[in-house]
């Protein structure tokens, strides 16, 4: 039989193990690994300073935490599992040095947001916040209508976000931008050479397939009939392209190949993102074949 006082000491040891683990695994790296130094390596390999959050971004971060966005959206890009290709460059410790508490998250019910900044325009974000399903068919995100003022019909007016709504979008636009404009490493050069492509011959089957792709991914902004009047269009500037009028960049002689390039790279300065990573080449051609049917 072990003596009682010895047992007391052993219980103390049990608690001690907790502190041992804390000290070795967590306190030691916290104090000696210098994670909280606000410096990161930018896309050109230079060490750059991370700027603190502006008051507005800070408010947006509070909204993000308050709404528990971190329950469904993670905020770190891993060097594995297609993360880099899907979201952007791998996360660095310095990028989080102003986050208290952290918002890493443990579940991706929605996509990772670590590199969300600059991916979409503010207008797209407002439209999406008010009605995610209109922008992305099949999305299960709640409609955050209470971040918008109501119009006369009592619906959320996506052109009039509240202060908190604006702050939230400002925060989202800040995310992952500390490493520089990684989406356009050479600047936005319209003359950058790309491989030439040739449009395949469109078939009826492609048009049908294109409709599916269009309804799921494009109708939120461009509208179901292609008139540029989707649910989010009101918040967007410049407005989404009207395919019925066929008001393309070169309205008279818009080539399928030009549209293909737009689909690939997006339109700088607008809400139009590049679809290279989310639509396959054949899907992109199909959707073009479908868009072409809108013209009156």
């Amino acid at each position: 039989m072990i003596s009682t006082s010895f047992k007391g000491a052993m219980l103390g040891a049990g608690v001690g193990l907790y502190f041992f683990a804390f000290a070795v695994g967590y306190a030691y790296p916290a104090f000696f690994s210098k994670h909280d130094v606000p410096k990161v390596k930018d896309i050109y390999g230079n060490i750059v300073e991370v700027r603190p959050y502006t008051p507005q971004e800070k408010l947006g971060r509070e909204v993000y935490i308050k709404e528990a966005c971190w329950i469904c959206h993670s905020q770190f890009v891993r060097p594995i599992g297609g993360d880099e290709k899907r979201y952007g460059p791998v996360s660095q410790a310095g990028e989080f040095s102003y986050d208290k508490p952290h918002t890493f998250g443990t579940r991706r019910i929605g996509p990772d947001l670590a590199r969300e900044g600059g991916k979409r325009t503010d207008g797209w974000q407002y439209g999406h916040l008010a009605d995610p399903q209109a922008m992305t068919q099949g999305s299960i995100m709640p409609k955050y209508v209470w971040y918008f003022e109501k119009n006369e019909k009592g619906e959320a007016d996506i052109t009039k976000p509240t202060e908190e709504g604006k702050a939230l979008v400002a925060y989202l636009q800040r995310l992952g931008t500390s490493i520089g404009d990684w989406r356009n490493p050479e600047g936005n050069n319209p003359n950058a050479k790309t491989a030439t492509v040739t449009a395949p011959k469109f078939t009826a089957q492609m048009v049908t397939e294109g409709k599916t792709v269009y309804d799921m991914n494009c109708a939120g902004c461009h509208g179901a009939t292609g008139a540029g009047d989707g649910a989010a269009a009101a918040a967007l500037n410049p407005k989404p392209r009207n395919f019925v009028k066929a008001d393309y960049k070169y309205p008279v002689n818009a080539k399928d190949e030009d549209i293909f390039k737009t689909l690939e790279k997006g339109v700088a300065g607008s809400a139009m993102p590049g679809w290279k990573d989310s639509l396959s080449e054949s899907q992109r051609w199909s959707v073009i074949s479908y868009i072409r049917t809108f013209k009156k």
Partner: protein, 467 residues
């Protein structure tokens, strides 16, 4: 050294348990069990019908999701575990609890604390700490409650009649002490003093310590207390139980960083976490070996005793969860299953499949003694068991399936749009909801059975039987 809890329990002539106090704690836990599980059920519907319950801030899916978690962890399990402690500690020490009124005062504090804490989450006051969402102004009274109970526990043990400290008491004292400290670290210190990556690492440590150093010790204490009493067998091996305890104490706190593998947290910290996770197989399986050994010659009770059914089912899930947990902490598994429903299934396997089952087992045994009445309906208890088992099996399997589908789609091809994975697993979520509502129905039957036992159950005349 085959000291048996049952010997302590049966030899007592004097009634040491404050039965009313334990009953009251259990009633509060019943309330939170139903409310929190219903929240989970409602959230799961929102996965398929995002517009369900309208566009009300209070019922936004993420807010309800954290309220489900807070309600289950603190409202249901913690309340039930405290009630269990007020039953087990007097039995194991042979004396009444010190400060006999304290338990009542704490309960009167605990009810508003849990209500306000849950209301705060729905109203948008959360401090952004996973598994510690309650805001800081409600965390402080929570720490107060934990600290006072821990102190009461130590005082009672110091004055005990029964010299030997049974393994359940080890787990209880250590669990309450760890929980008090851990709650302070995770809720009061970390979110306000550490930034970014360090904050994440410590939060992982806190998060997993809630499971490993609070929920697990409480559940294991119940297992070691109730199993020998119910089966009237001595604990198979006292040494093995000590091995389990010390293994838990050594390895569990080191595992936290496995929640953030491949993050900017130092790689060596992640590696230690993975190793410690693997090593957890040791203490957990020692507990299970002990349980199976204790069941020796008593397996026929499985067919007749509802508490044995739940105890054994919990053990089966414990083996599963503590094989699944360590393996999913491996980097190669994480690449695919992390961030997916696989992990959600794992969490439910531990909290529902193991510890809730064991708590129910204990409650089925204790409740007739607390109320002095026989269980109202064995049939309802049977329905509770089978609904829980099948409901959970449906839910867990679909969650794991969904996790593999989504994880596979995302990691095997970078050309899949995220939304396509959501569309792909949407049918899984539908089935998951179905299983979830079976579980809720089972829990409702359980609470109904318990309440009816207290009201109209057949009185037990044999005074030995209610001791």
């Amino acid at each position: 050294m085959a000291v048996v809890a049952e010997k302590v329990a049966i030899n007592q002539k004097e009634e040491v348990v404050d039965k009313k106090l334990v009953r009251l704690w259990f009633y509060v836990s019943f309330f939170w069990l139903i409310v929190s599980m219903t929240f989970g059920g409602l959230v799961s519907i929102k996965f398929n019908y995002p517009d369900f319950l309208g566009y009300v801030p209070y019922f936004a899916m993420p807010r309800m999701r954290i309220a489900h978690l807070g309600g289950v962890a603190l409202g249901w399990f913690t309340t039930a575990a405290i009630g269990m402690a007020y039953y087990m500690v007097p039995k194991l020490t042979g004396i009444k609890m010190k400060y006999p009124n304290l338990g009542y005062y704490l309960l009167y504090a605990w009810v508003p604390i849990t209500l306000i804490g849950q209301w705060a989450l729905l109203s948008g006051y959360n401090q952004g700490v996973e598994v510690g969402e309650w805001p800081i102004w409600i965390d402080i009274p929570v720490v107060g409650v934990f600290a006072l109970i821990t102190n009461q526990l130590f005082m009672t043990i110091a004055a005990r009649k029964e010299k030997h400290i049974y393994v359940s008491l080890w787990y209880l004292t250590a669990g309450f002490t760890w929980a008090s400290i851990n709650y302070v670290v995770g809720n009061l210190i970390n979110p306000y003093f550490f930034t970014g990556v360090d904050n994440a690492a410590i939060q992982g440590f806190y998060l997993h310590s809630v499971v490993g150093l609070w929920i697990t010790p409480m559940g294991t204490a119940m297992l070691y207390y109730f199993l020998p009493i119910i089966t009237k067998n001595p604990v198979y091996s006292h040494k093995l139980s000590m091995l389990g305890f010390w293994g838990l104490a050594l390895f569990y706190p080191l595992t936290g960083a496995h929640h953030y593998l491949f993050s900017p947290i130092d790689t060596w910290v992640q590696t230690i976490a993975i190793m410690a996770s693997m090593m957890l197989i040791l203490p957990v399986w020692s507990v299970i070996t002990n349980q199976i050994g204790t069941m020796k010659g008593k397996w026929h009770m499985l067919s007749s005793h509802i508490e044995v059914k739940f105890m054994v089912l919990g053990a089966v899930f414990y083996v599963t969860t503590c094989f699944q947990g360590p393996t999913q902490a491996l980097r190669s598994m994480q690449e695919i299953v992390h961030f997916t429903d696989w992990v959600v299934g794992h969490a439910h396997l531990a909290i529902y499949g193991v510890f809730t089952m064991w708590t129910w087992s204990g409650m089925y045994y204790v409740w007739p003694k607390l109320t002095g009445r026989e269980l109202y309906s064995q049939k309802l208890a049977g329905w509770h068991f089978w609904l829980s088992l099948f409901g959970f099996a449906i839910m867990a399997l679909t969650l794991w399936g969904a996790g593999l589908v989504q994880g596979g789609m995302l990691s095997l091809s970078a050309n899949v749009a995220f939304i396509d994975t959501v569309r792909a697993i949407s049918p899984f979520w539908m089935i998951r909801s179905f299983g979830g509502w079976m579980m809720i129905l089972g829990a409702v039957l359980f609470v109904y059975n318990m309440v009816m036992t207290a009201i109209v159950g057949k009185p037990i005349t044999d005074s030995e039987a209610i001791a």
